[in-house]
Symmetry: C2
Subunit: 298 residues, 2 copies
C-alpha cells in the first residue's frame, strides 16, 4: 500500500498505516493551470494507492481540489496502481445537495459521481449529506469524525460539561459525545431564511452556571450558527465556552466585519478544528480514525 | 437547438445559429463553491443543447471552467436534452501535453477525456495539440481559427504586408494567411530551455523597410515569444508591427515587470485578439466560423 499526498498529513497517515509514501510535487503556473507530479512514479505499479487531496483555509480552492483529484487519479491508473482510493477529508462542493430553485445544478451529486467513477473507493469525512439514501454505496464512504472529537475532548478532562448541537444533523452524535464526557446534551433547531440568509433559532436552553458548554458542529463557513450558539451559552451563564468543529472555513462575515475563524476565536474561550482542512485553529487529527477505516476496508 | 451561456458571446452565437438561448446564472459562494443555474430549465427537454463555457482574462480560472462544464453538462442530461455539445473556445489545461519529467500528470489528455465522456460533441478553437494523432475523434473537434483571422485582417487593407509565425506549429496557416492578404510569409524557429525557461530563436529575417509586419500566434501567456518577434521586426525596419492572436492570457512577466497584454500593447503598433477569451484587446470574433461548423456538424 502507498499513500500519495502533499503535506505532513499524508506522511503521518502513511506512518499510521505502515504504508509507503510518495510525495506529490505541485505548483500553479502563472496562467492558472496547476502542475502535479508524483515524485517517485516507479513505486506505484501493482500497489494499492491512497491519494490524499486536502486543502488549507483561508482561500480553499475547491475547484483546484477537483482538478487535482482527476489529474492524479488518471496518472495512478497510467502508472498501473492495483487499486485506487481517493481520500478527501473535506470533499469539495459538499454544500448544495438539492435544487432549491428549478434549474440549479446539484453540485454535491455531480461531483460525487464524477469522482466515484475515477477511483475504486471514495472516502470523505463527515460530509453533510452522509445519511442521504442512495448516495452512499460500496464505492463511497463517509467517516463520521465524532470518534476523533470525543477522544480529543476526553483528554481535556472537563469537570461538568454540557454539549450543544446548533445543527440537528449532528444531534445524535452529540448525545453520545456528551455521555462519553460524563455530561449531558442540549440541542436547538435553526432555520435559514432562503431569501435573506438570516438564521432563526428556536427553543431555550437551561441555566448553565458552573458548567462548561461545548458547542459541536460539523462545519463552519460564515460562523453565524456557531456565533448564535455562543451567545445563547453566554446568556445561560456557562463558565466556559468551547467550540469544536470538524471542518472550518475562513469566510468573511460582512455583518461582523471579520472572518469566521476570528469570530470564533474572539467569542469563545477555547476553539478547535480537526485537520480535515488545515486551518489556523486546527488542533486535533482524524488520521487515526481514517487509518483504522482504511486498514479494514481498502 | 438551444445555446446556453453567460455572456453576450453565447447570445450572439444563438442568433447566428437561429437557435434559442438560455442564460446561465452564476455566482461564487464566499466559501469558494460556484453556483450555476439554467434560467429557463423548461426549455431544454428534447433539444440539442450547446453549452458555452468561456472565460475572461486577467485571472482566468481554468479550474472553475472545468467545474462549470461538469455541473452544467450533468444538469442538461437531467433536464433531458436530446444531445449535448460543449463549446470551450479556449479549452482549460491546453498546455501540458506530454510528460517532460517522469511522474508528471498530462493534463491536456486527462481533461479532454473527462470532458468528452460527459457530452456528445466537444468543440475547441485552435488548441495547441489539435494535430496530435489519436486525440481527435468523432466526438472532439478543434476549429482552426485562421479563417477568422484572415477575414478580420482582410478588412484592414494592408498595403504590403508580410506575415511572421513565431511558432512553427502555425506556420502552414501563416503561408495561407499571407497569400490571402496579398503578401508573403517568413518564419522563425524558437526553442525553450526546459530548465531556465529562456527562449532561443534561430534564423534571420530579411529587411522589411516599407512593409507591415503581421505577427500571428495561437496563444500568448507571458508574451515572451511575441516580444522577441516584435524586436526582430523592429530591427528589420518594418513600417508597422501588428500582433494578432487567437487566445491571449494576461500573465505577469517578471522580466519586463508588466503583464503580457501590456507588453504587447507597448511594443507594437496594432494588437488584436479573438473572443475565445474575453480580454482587453479582444477585437474580432470566431462566432461566425464556429456557428458554420455547428450548423453542419451538430
Amino acid at each position: 500500500m502507498i499513500v500519495l499526498g502533499r503535506e505532513g498529513f499524508s506522511e503521518r497517515l502513511a506512518k499510521e498505516l505502515r504504508a509507503e509514501f510518495a510525495r506529490i510535487e505541485t505548483k500553479v503556473f502563472p496562467d492558472g493551470e496547476s502542475y502535479f507530479r508524483i515524485s517517485e512514479p516507479e513505486k506505484i505499479r501493482g500497489k494499492k494507492a491512497i491519494l490524499v487531496v486536502r486543502g488549507r483555509t483561508p482561500n480553499l480552492d475547491q475547484n483546484r481540489m477537483l482538478t487535482e483529484s482527476f489529474l492524479l487519479l488518471d496518472k495512478l491508473k497510467a502508472l498501473k496502481a492495483k487499486k485506487t482510493c481517493l481520500l478527501l477529508p473535506y470533499i469539495p462542493y459538499s454544500r448544495q445537495d438539492r435544487e432549491f430553485l428549478k434549474g440549479e445544478t446539484v453540485s454535491v451529486k455531480t461531483v460525487r459521481n464524477l469522482l466515484k467513477e475515477k477511483c475504486d473507493l471514495l472516502v470523505n469525512v463527515t460530509s453533510h449529506d452522509f445519511r442521504k439514501e442512495g448516495w452512499i454505496d460500496k464505492k463511497t464512504y463517509n467517516i463520521d469524525a465524532t470518534e476523533s472529537v470525543t477522544e480529543f475532548l476526553k483528554s481535556k478532562k472537563f469537570e461538568n460539561p454540557v454539549v450543544m448541537a446548533p445543527d440537528m444533523s449532528v444531534s445524535e452524535n452529540v448525545e453520545e459525545l456528551a455521555k462519553s464526557l460524563g455530561g449531558n446534551s442540549i440541542g436547538f433547531e435553526k432555520e435559514r431564511d432562503l431569501k435573506t440568509g438570516k438564521i432563526r433559532t428556536f427553543g431555550k436552553i437551561p441555566n448553565l452556571r458552573g458548567r462548561e458548554l461545548i458547542i459541536y458542529d460539523d462545519v463552519a463557513s460564515f460562523g453565524e450558527t456557531l456565533y448564535k450558539a455562543v451567545l445563547m451559552g453566554k446568556k445561560a451563564k456557562a463558565s466556559k465556552i468551547i467550540c469544536i468543529l470538524i471542518h472550518v472555513l475562513s469566510v468573511y462575515n460582512k455583518k461582523f466585519e471579520k472572518n469566521s475563524i476570528d469570530l470564533i476565536k474572539d467569542e469563545s474561550d477555547e476553539y478547535y478544528s480537526s485537520d480535515t482542512i488545515e486551518s489556523p485553529i486546527t488542533k486535533f487529527s482524524i488520521i487515526k480514525q481514517v487509518s483504522e477505516f482504511l486498514k479494514e476496508n481498502f
